[in-house]
Every structure is written in C-alpha cells, then in structure tokens.
C-alpha cells in the first residue's frame, strides 16, 4: 500500500474537521468536528507506525491520543452543559460574555 493513501485520507479528514469548527454555530457540533480532527491525527500516527516497522510506538501514541480525546470531550461537554444552564442556548456566536453564569 502506498504511504500517501492514509496520509491523504488524514489530510482530508482534518480539513473537514477544520471546516466544521469554523462554519458551525452549535458548540456540540464543533466538538464533533474536533473528534474528526483528532481521528486524522491518529490515522497519521498509525500509518507512520506501519511504515517504519518498529515495535508499535505510533500505535501506543494513538492510544494516548484516544485517551486525551475522551478527557477532552468529557470536560468540553460539562462546559457546554454549564453554558446551556446559564444562557439557555449552546450557540458559540452568541456566547460573548466571559462573566460567570449567574
């Protein structure tokens, strides 16, 4: 298999994620786009690991990134729920104040 195939797939997925983060308004859909971008990174790690055949270093790092993604989505969704409780919406464009929800 040519190495560029997984790398180009990762590039396409990453750019779809970038589009989603920039174009979406709902915070939860933005978080979903973040997940797509992290998946592109994982694809890169696994592809390079398959290319340089060495003891699964890239796969280990991919598992670390998956753990990071889990931590990120947990905290992110907690923040989104707090935003919804304080403002009644989850619109990233309308959340302009950095004050505490009171």
């Amino acid at each position: 298999m040519p190495l560029v195939l997984p790398l180009l797939l990762a590039v396409v997925l990453f750019c779809i994620g970038v589009y989603g983060v920039l174009a979406r308004r709902n915070v939860i859909t933005m978080l979903m786009s973040f997940e797509l971008m992290l998946n592109a990174v994982n694809l890169n790690l696994v592809a390079f690991d398959a290319w340089r055949v060495d003891e699964a270093t890239g796969q280990t790092l991919a598992i670390f990134v998956i753990t990071l993604a889990a931590a990120e989505i947990g905290l992110g969704l907690a923040i989104v729920l707090l935003l919804f409780r304080g403002h009644g919406h989850v619109d990233a464009d309308a959340a302009r104040d950095l004050e505490e929800a009171s």
Partner: protein, 164 residues
C-alpha cells in the same frame, strides 16, 4: 487487498465526515459520526493495528458518541432541521479548509510520494501493552492522572450551584 479494503473504509469515512459537518439535523450529525469513526477504525484494521481499532470502537463509538448524544438530549437539541446551524461564514470556512488541504496534501505527496507500507502484523494487544509498560510508563501514568483530573473537573463543573 489491503489497499482496496483501506480505500473503501477511507471513502466511507470521508463521506460520513462530510455529512457530519454539513447536516442540518444535529442528532443525525451525531449518528453519522458513529459511521465516520467506525470507518476510521476499519482503516486502522487495514493498517494491521487491530488493538487500536478495537480501542477506537470501544472508546469513540461506545463512550464519546454516547456522551455527545446525552449532551444533545440535555441541551434540548431539536430533531427538526435547523437552517441556522451553519453560519454565514461557511464559504470562508470552506476556502480555509480547501487551502489547508491543498498545502498539506502537496507537502505529504512531495515528502512521501514514493514510500510504500509493507503489510506486517504488529498491532496485537501484546505488542502495544509491552510497549506501554516498558518504554512509555511515565507518560501512561501522567495520562491517567490527567484523565482523573478531567473527570473531577467535569464533576465539579456540573455540580456547581448558582450563587446568590
């Protein structure tokens, strides 16, 4: 054979990811995310990384998408299509994404255009586990502390009472 398998899974992943970012129904976008992440897991499988593929299905499809669906439910996301879900700056966003794809794709093709992946099986749980507990013990422990901190942070955020 592997290349064909990878290409099919990759095409499914790209189509599903596009639907995730352009769909006007939020819940449908979350469900298409399942397909996109599952197809990426298939790509991992085609690259002989079976343990990563299984972890991807367990953590992403099993946990993260369920969390996203719970968050959609708790924020009263409507089931009907929302035209205002995508902002007016989406042409600008598409331009940025296209330029980025062009630059990154050209760089990747320029740098690794002639390299080949030889199919070798070294993605079993045994290999990855040996690697984690032999060479990557400290990052692994730091990561577990980080996960704990994120969990405590999420609990603290969601338990917060309104002041006054």
């Amino acid at each position: 054979m592997t290349t064909a398998l990878f290409s099919v899974a990759g095409a499914v992943a790209v189509v599903a990811a596009v639907v995730v970012v352009v769909s006007r129904r939020i819940v449908h976008a979350a469900l298409w995310l399942v397909l996109a992440l599952g197809a990426v897991a298939g790509c991992f499988g085609a690259l002989q990384a079976e343990f990563v593929a299984l972890v991807q299905i367990l953590v992403y499809v099993g946990a993260i998408v369920v969390l996203v669906l719970f968050a959609l439910m708790l924020t009263k996301a409507p089931m009907k299509p929302l035209p205002e879900l995508t902002t007016g700056r989406s042409p600008f966003a598409a331009g940025v994404a296209a330029v980025l794809a062009l630059i990154l794709g050209a760089g990747v093709v320029f740098a690794f255009g002639n390299e080949k992946i030889k199919p070798v099986t070294d993605g079993s749980a045994k290999t990855v586990g040996t690697q984690i507990f032999k060479n990557w013990v400290l990052p692994f422990e730091v990561l577990s502390v980080l996960l704990l901190a994120a969990l405590i942070g999420a609990i603290a955020l969601s338990q917060r009472k309104k002041e006054d």
